[in-house]
Assembly symmetry: C2
Homo-oligomer: 366 residues x 2
């Protein structure tokens, strides 16, 4: 097929904080969490963030099979009834899109313009993946396992099905789950039905949806989504480093009530309990959340997560005084990593974990 | 509280087809349907469009009550168990946001920048509303019933809870449903849990979510969302006409596969079955869908809707030849109303039912 990026196609004009029609189309189609639902341990079904590269495939689960193929000694395939008959595990996992916060970076990559909202926590149900790979007996010399989805299309002129890979060492280190359920119900089409993986502790691109095939490879997987994107790059010729574990981050439940357009917040003076969530990658615990109140960083109270890979809750009391305030929150994890005050630059806008800032207008109590 | 629109606040720069950061924030937060799911009679749960003016209230359904108050002779209130004990009715209804298509209008109102995707069809379950209003015995002189939600905030500097109204004649004419279920499951928080109304055949603003109160009024309801917005206005001083019934409209399931950013479509030459949906307001049937193929309008085959207020399916065969094509679809209803080829202008960008156009690249079969 032809390359959709014709020579001479004008570059979108997105300078000066403005956004293109294509970016808005992506924002309309993909959906972010509602920050007010961060009060809940589990994001309400239907409000977990969604980033769909191509189209959602509508798959008939009665005929769907997962195939283990390639450099396996004992390749096999399973239908959905067989997969649901395997040992069942459920796990709350906080997933975040690698592009979350892209729109807060300058200059900005022309892609899905997330502000802050590409995060969510669901209870995922399935079966551990590692025993199935062991059962298929990888041959000596296998260096990668490719996970191939049913979703396909073009990116930068390259036609491909969505695919990602994990090395044998990563399969050993990560608690990868082969998933068919979500929040106690069957997986929804837009979340990968009938079958996906969840790679806890990593950004969402690793958690391949609409999974059809796991292929053992004796050379590194070179699929588009593995090697041509999801890499940290500082300039055009930078080969870059792969994006994988989630960076430490936190969000605030915006207090008071919003203005419809600006989403700035309005509340009356007096005591208010602020709350939010914090999380980091690879199951590393959150050890501290600080909240910027009245221009001073103050330490919040942490509430334990509902699982190793789920976000931590936090609360803090604030005596809100009349005026316009900028509130911010900043998390630190057990590795000592802390959120930056300025967005870390990346060519494609990946993994921006700058602190979350919310403008609050406090009115006098009359 | 103070007006969030301070004097001197700069007008957003949104000329030249570009969009502001606030518009993108709304697009990230609100979510559109995925056009590929238009193949299904019922929109998959979690992908029905969502337009939330303020924050989603998290309501405890065990203590929630619906109050009938104001100019009733026999006012009463009901808890959720009592409401679920009333006669049960389920109804598939196609809902569309009044702002759908706003971004295709020029000049464009600064609000949620929907392209085409603010539509969906769910199976709503609840009980007919009209008998409950009769039971509360409206007093002589009642001219309006206000439906008040639990969601509140600011719009254009005016603090208010979301509310809308219907006249006694509209209650008689419309099959308004008091709803607690959706697609065979409890109503989700973001769709109005625990209780909302569905006003079939009207744009979505009438279907008040998080319903707390039905108030009988002897003067017309003057809530912000009833009188200060959702009106068709041609210029600043135009008092305008209320937005109510949905205008005739159709959408195409984009064929082939997409480019990630532009969403332009790619497929190989040969026969392809195109399909889509068409709907109109007030339960008026769709009588014709025409599809622009190879620069000729051709008549599609209609498949019956699953209910009076649900969209109609359509299909048409196309012999796709290599090249770049613009496909469009245009519906006509039993009243003879047809979609326009140019967007009808409205100050606030309401009810744009211009034809849906999709760019398709057809590659030679190699």
């Amino acid at each position: 097929m032809r390359n959709p990026f014709e020579p001479g196609q004008p570059k979108p004009k997105t300078e000066d904080g403005l956004f293109s029609r294509h970016e808005v189309g992506l924002a309309n189609r993909n959906s972010g969490a509602l920050l007010e639902t961060l009060t809940r341990d589990i994001t309400p079904t239907g409000t977990h963030y969604l980033l769909t590269h191509f189209d959602v495939p509508m798959i008939d689960e009665t005929t769907h099979r997962l195939c283990f193929e390639g450099a396996f000694e004992a390749p096999f395939s399973l239908d959905m009834d067989e997969i649901r008959g395997l040992p069942v595990q459920s796990m709350p996992v906080t997933l975040e899109c690698a592009g979350n916060g892209r729109s807060n970076m300058s200059p900005r990559s022309h892609s899905m313009p997330w502000h802050y909202e590409a995060v969510g926590t669901s209870e995922w149900t399935g079966t551990p993946l590692a025993p199935l790979i062991t059962r298929a007996k990888p041959l000596n010399g296998v260096v990668d396992f490719a996970f191939l989805g049913a979703d396909a299309g073009f990116d930068k002129g390259v036609p491909h099905a969505f695919g990602r890979s994990l090395t044998p060492e990563e399969i050993d280190a990560l608690d990868v789950l082969l998933v068919w359920g979500m929040n106690g119900a069957p997986l929804l089409p837009q979340h990968g039905a009938p079958l996906r993986i969840i790679v806890p502790g990593w950004y969402g691109m690793a958690s391949v949806k609409w999974l059809t095939t796991i292929r053992a490879l004796t050379e590194r997987y070179d699929g588009f989504q593995q090697v041509q994107t999801y890499r940290f790059r500082k300039h055009e010729n930078d080969p870059g480093e792969p994006v994988n574990a989630i960076r430490v981050k936190s969000l605030l439940v915006p207090p008071g009530v919003p203005d419809w357009i600006t989403r700035e917040r309005w509340l009356r003076e007096g005591p208010v309990t602020l709350q939010g969530r914090a999380w980091s990658g690879n199951g590393v615990p959150i050890t501290r959340v600080e909240v910027l109140l009245d221009e001073t960083w103050q330490e919040a109270h942490l509430t334990p997560p509902v699982g190793r890979y789920a976000w931590t809750g936090w609360t803090i009391e604030w005596a809100a005084r009349p005026g316009r305030h900028m509130i911010a929150c900043r998390a630190t994890d057990a590795n000592g990593a802390t959120q930056p005050l300025e967005a870390p630059f990346d060519m494609a806008g990946f993994a921006n974990n700058v602190v979350h800032r919310v403008t609050v207008h406090v009115a006098e109590r009359t």
